[in-house]
């Protein structure tokens, strides 16, 4: 059964004085199955971030629907949207978005504390997760004391600790060096193998080559998609770069 279904999604931005209209998303359709690892690729300005914001319920679409577990995001009341986001979605951002006033441990606890969980429960949830992510020794440190890769792992832990239905990752490797990128992508694969559904927006071919399926967005529409199937990461990498070449050079002939 599909966790996420996106139908005819449309988003139009109006400039402040109502003069120009910019169509960020024209007509986006796709769905994500449970346990899938999907990457969405596209150039800057293709509408990736807009799409992610709508999926995250941070923004409202102009038209079309987004259904998570069969529930239409548009039908959720404004007052309930924050708790909905907290309970059903996990986020990983390019710039980590850790609060510098909290230790890593407290940063990870944040969504649970907001949900009103007991400390005992939070603690027992954190332990296996921290072990899996290799951040046990870092828990007492503060964000400014650790490297980018370590920060991002803490952010992943924060995303996972609520057992979300879907993890949304926005350019998670964007601020990392190559070693940290490799580590994080391996981590995503492990998490995905444990059954976690992941939707990642990126324009890194390497990051996308780890995914099970890659969607390409161009000019506000899903332009193409490729499945990994049985191909290795190298083959996948090749496929993606070929597609991108076609996308950028041959786009005009479409």
């Amino acid at each position: 059964m599909s966790i996420l279904e996106v139908n005819g999604l449309k988003k139009v931005y109006t400039t402040r004085f109502g003069g120009n209209k910019v169509e960020a998303l024209r007509n986006v359709n796709f769905s994500v199955e449970e346990g899938e690892y999907v990457a969405i690729m596209g150039e800057s300005g293709s509408g990736k971030t807009t799409l992610l914001n709508i999926l995250a319920a941070l923004d409202r679409p102009t038209g079309g629907t987004v259904q998570l577990d069969g529930k239409n995001l548009a039908s959720i009341k404004d007052s309930a949207i924050a708790s909905f986001r907290r309970e059903h979605l996990g986020f990983v951002f390019q710039d980590f978005n850790l609060l510098d006033t909290f230790s890593l441990e407290d940063n990870i606890y944040l969504p649970l504390v907001l949900a009103g969980k007991q400390y005992q429960e939070m603690h027992s949830r954190l332990e296996p997760l921290a072990k899996k992510l290799g951040i046990i020794s870092l828990l007492k440190k503060y964000p400014y004391e650790v490297s980018g890769g370590q920060k991002q792992r803490a952010a992943v832990a924060r995303a996972l600790i609520t057992d979300p239905r879907l993890v949304l990752a926005d350019e998670p490797t964007g601020a990392l060096d190559s070693r940290a990128t490799d580590e994080l992508l391996r981590l995503f694969n492990t998490i995905n193998e444990d059954g976690q559904t992941i939707l990642m927006v990126t324009h890194s071919v390497k990051a996308a080559s780890h995914a099970g399926r890659v969607l390409f967005i161009k000019d506000g529409e899903v332009y193409h998609q490729i499945y990994r199937g049985d191909s290795t990461e190298e083959q996948m990498y090749q496929k993606i770069s070929d597609t991108l070449t076609v996308l950028t050079t041959g786009g005009e002939n479409r």
């Binding site: 924050a82 986001r85 909290f102 907001l114 400390y119 924060r158």
Partner: protein, 693 residues
């Protein structure tokens, strides 16, 4: 490069940063205006016309110095906010190709402009208000005057010079900061990774201990003289303790709360506690300053109001009647030689000469000695003083012995005393023993303590504790005590004490007429007493000391002094309140910019806007009202001390003090709440501006 380039850049810089710059310019202008007004009053000729006007001038001169020093410190403080926010802009200019020299040019222009703007504004306001405040001051000291606008050039020159120097220092400081930094640092100066605040247990505990000590001093001190000595010690201790507690104590408290996992990991505490820690680390010093300024305003205003309003009480204490005469001599026989009758006649004549009738006459004799009391014994010799370690004036008493007949006559009572009984009336101290005796002399049982006796003029302004001792047989007491005193060898007397009994005659009456006529009467009386004194210098080798005084004459100089102090209290109060307001404003603004990014992250992680607003609100409230509440507590503990201090000025009116302090606190509180409302709007618009942009 065109000539107008730098001025244009500078002007743009001021306008672009108006949120920071406008309050800064207002502060500068306000300080300039205040300083000019104080300097104007310090040089004012009009004030000289008042009785004792030189005192007013020098009080205002003192005030202008205080304001000048305060302006220097405070402008540096507000300027540092400005520089911190501007660094990024300068970094950008630097990267875009402006050298440090060019930046310096812009800075110089900016400073010149802000100097001219604030000087223009400040002097205009200052000149307009200077006359008004002069009128207020004259009103306070009970003087009428005509209205004429004038500018005092000397005050003007001083103001311009002082603030030119301050602005030059500010400029040098800004230049130094820009010189030292490199462009990348400048660009990122706002986002340096911040270490989590450490709990400094030692400082926190030290703060608590010092505060407790200061409070203990304030509460435990019994007598006014010690109060005066310890007041400044207590003030310094409270200031130190407030800084320590706000800076270290608050962080330590947050740390303790963080360790309590059950408490800390609750939705409503989690974010508040950890953010509070950072807030207090950054703003502890600022908040402590607000608290201390607030306390200063409250203490100053409530005590000066009390002194001013209570001036009549103090006058009455100092001058029991409108017209008073005191004759003092060491020779008891001299007082019986007819001098009292002669002076009574003169005093009555003086009143009659102007068609007035003496009313409410007092007329009694008393014998005065000084000594210390130990276990019901009045000790007079040096040895006993040393033995009981009486080493300060605070342990000394003055005793005024009055016969029962005199007491009954003056008070209109019909008290009776047995031969070995006495009554007492104490002032400024309590006496708890059941008996009293001069060391080696007859012991009197204290029959009762009477509430009231006509105060002595000398007594009200004295710092000693004093006691009226009412004995059945005046002559028996004096003879015995004379003998006891004579028996003490001369070298045994302490330098602090009198060696003989001083005999006083107290006379006075009230008048039902204007102060002006009273002044004439007292002037006439003084003249005739002067003549009388020339004819009757004394008896048996002891001179007569004759004091005469009228309440009307004293009232003028009284109001000049107290009115001046009151006015200064109000002016400094205003300055301090505005300083507190400004610190609050800058705190809110700078916090707003810092909280912007945090606000965004919290939303992304799943907090609703309402939750965030609620959490921020509670933090703001805590941060904001902590200084106010602390100031209130400080005031409450300072209360006993203030009460003792104003007693020294002859004002013994607890109710008045409570009212004054209460009113001051309420007004200050209202002001504070108003500022909170205004600044929190600015804060929210900055914080939420981040998302809407």
């Amino acid at each position: 490069m065109k000539m107008t380039f730098y001025p244009k850049m500078a002007w743009m810089g001021i306008r672009k940063n108006s949120r920071m710059y406008v309050p800064y310019l207002l502060t500068c202008a306000g300080m300039i205006a205040m300083y000019y007004i104080m300097a104007f009053l310090a040089f004012s000729n009009v004030l000289l016309k008042v009785e004792g006007g030189e005192i007013l001038n020098s009080i205002m001169g003192l005030g202008s110095i205080v304001i000048g020093v305060f302006a220097l410190i405070f402008l540096f403080y507000t300027n540092s906010f400005l520089i911190r926010r501007r660094k990024k802009e300068f970094g950008l200019y630097n990267i875009l190709g402006m050298g440090k020299a060019n930046l310096a040019h812009v800075l110089i222009w900016e400073n010149v402009m802000s100097f001219l703007i604030s000087l223009g504004g400040g002097l205009t306001v200052g000149i307009l208000l200077s006359k008004f405040s002069e009128l207020c001051l004259l009103k306070l000291v009970h003087m009428e005057t005509g209205f004429s606008m004038q500018i005092d050039w000397e005050a003007l020159c001083r103001t311009v010079t002082l603030f030119a120097v301050i602005f030059l220092l500010l400029l040098l400081n800004a230049l130094r900061q820009v010189r030292l930094a490199n462009p990348i640092e400048l660009l990122h100066s706002e986002q340096v990774g911040e270490k989590p605040p450490r709990a400094n247990w030692i400082l926190a505990i030290a703060g608590a201990v010092i505060l407790a000590g200061a409070y203990y001093i304030a509460v435990s001190i019994e007598d006014p003289i010690t109060a005066m000595l310890w007041f400044f010690v207590a003030v310094v201790m409270v200031i130190i303790a407030t800084y320590l507690l706000f800076i270290a104590g608050s962080v330590t408290l947050c740390r303790i709360l963080q360790r309590k996992k059950k408490y800390y990991y609750k939705t409503q505490h989690f974010i508040s506690v950890s953010s509070m820690m950072y807030r207090m680390k950054r703003n502890g010093a600022g908040l402590a300053s607000i608290c201390i300024l607030g306390t200063m305003v409250l203490v100053m205003l409530s005590s000066t109001i009390c002194m001013y309003v209570g001036a009549e009480d103090a006058l009455r204490g100092q001058y029991p009647r409108n017209i008073n005469i005191t004759v003092a001599t060491y020779d008891q026989a001299g007082l019986e030689s007819g001098i009292c009758e002669d002076l009574t006649g003169q005093a009555e004549d003086a009143a009659k000469a102007l068609g007035q009738k003496p009313e409410n006459v007092i007329d009694y004799k008393t014998a005065a000695i000084a000594g210390s009391i130990n276990e019901g014994q009045i000790s007079l010799s040096k040895t006993t003083l040393e033995q009981y370690q009486v080493d300060s004036y605070s342990d000394l008493w003055q005793f005024f012995v009055v016969s029962l007949d005199q007491y009954n006559r003056v008070m209109g009572t019909k008290e009776t005393l047995k031969e070995d009984e006495a009554m007492i009336c104490t002032i400024k101290a309590d006496y708890k023993e059941d008996t009293i005796a001069v060391e080696g002399g007859k012991t009197y049982k204290i029959k009762k303590e009477v509430e009231q006796f006509v105060p002595l003029a000398s007594d009200a302004m004295s710092i000693f504790a004093s006691m009226f001792l009412i004995v059945p047989d005046f002559d028996a007491w004096t003879q015995e005590t004379e003998a006891l005193l004579a028996a003490i060898p001369p070298e045994e007397f302490s330098l602090m004490l009198d060696r003989k009994i001083q005999y006083c005659w107290i006379y006075g009456y009230d008048l039902d007429c204007e102060d002006e006529i009273q002044n004439q009467i007292i002037a006439g009386l003084k003249n005739s007493i002067e003549t009388y004194k020339g004819q009757h210098p004394g008896t048996n080798g002891e001179v007569f000391e004759i004091y005469s005084g009228g309440v009307a004459t004293a009232r003028e100089s009284f109001y000049t002094l107290y009115g001046g102090i009151f006015f200064l209290g109000i002016m400094l109060g205003i300055v301090f309140v505005f300083a507190a307001v400004l610190i609050v404003y800058y705190k809110q603004i700078s916090e707003g910019y810092e909280d912007q990014s945090r606000f965004e992250i919290m939303q992304k992680v799943g907090m609703t806007k309402r939750e965030i607003r609620k959490s921020i609100n509670s933090q703001m409230l805590t941060v904001f009202f902590l200084p106010l509440v602390t100031a209130g507590v400080h005031l409450a503990f300072a209360f006993p001390l203030i009460y003792k201090l104003i007693q020294l000025f002859g004002i013994d009116n607890l109710q008045l003090l409570i009212c004054a302090a209460g009113i001051c606190f309420v007004i200050f509180g209202l002001f504070y709440v108003l500022v909170y409302r205004l600044t929190s709007e600015a804060y929210y618009s900055i914080v939420s501006g981040a998302r809407e942009r």
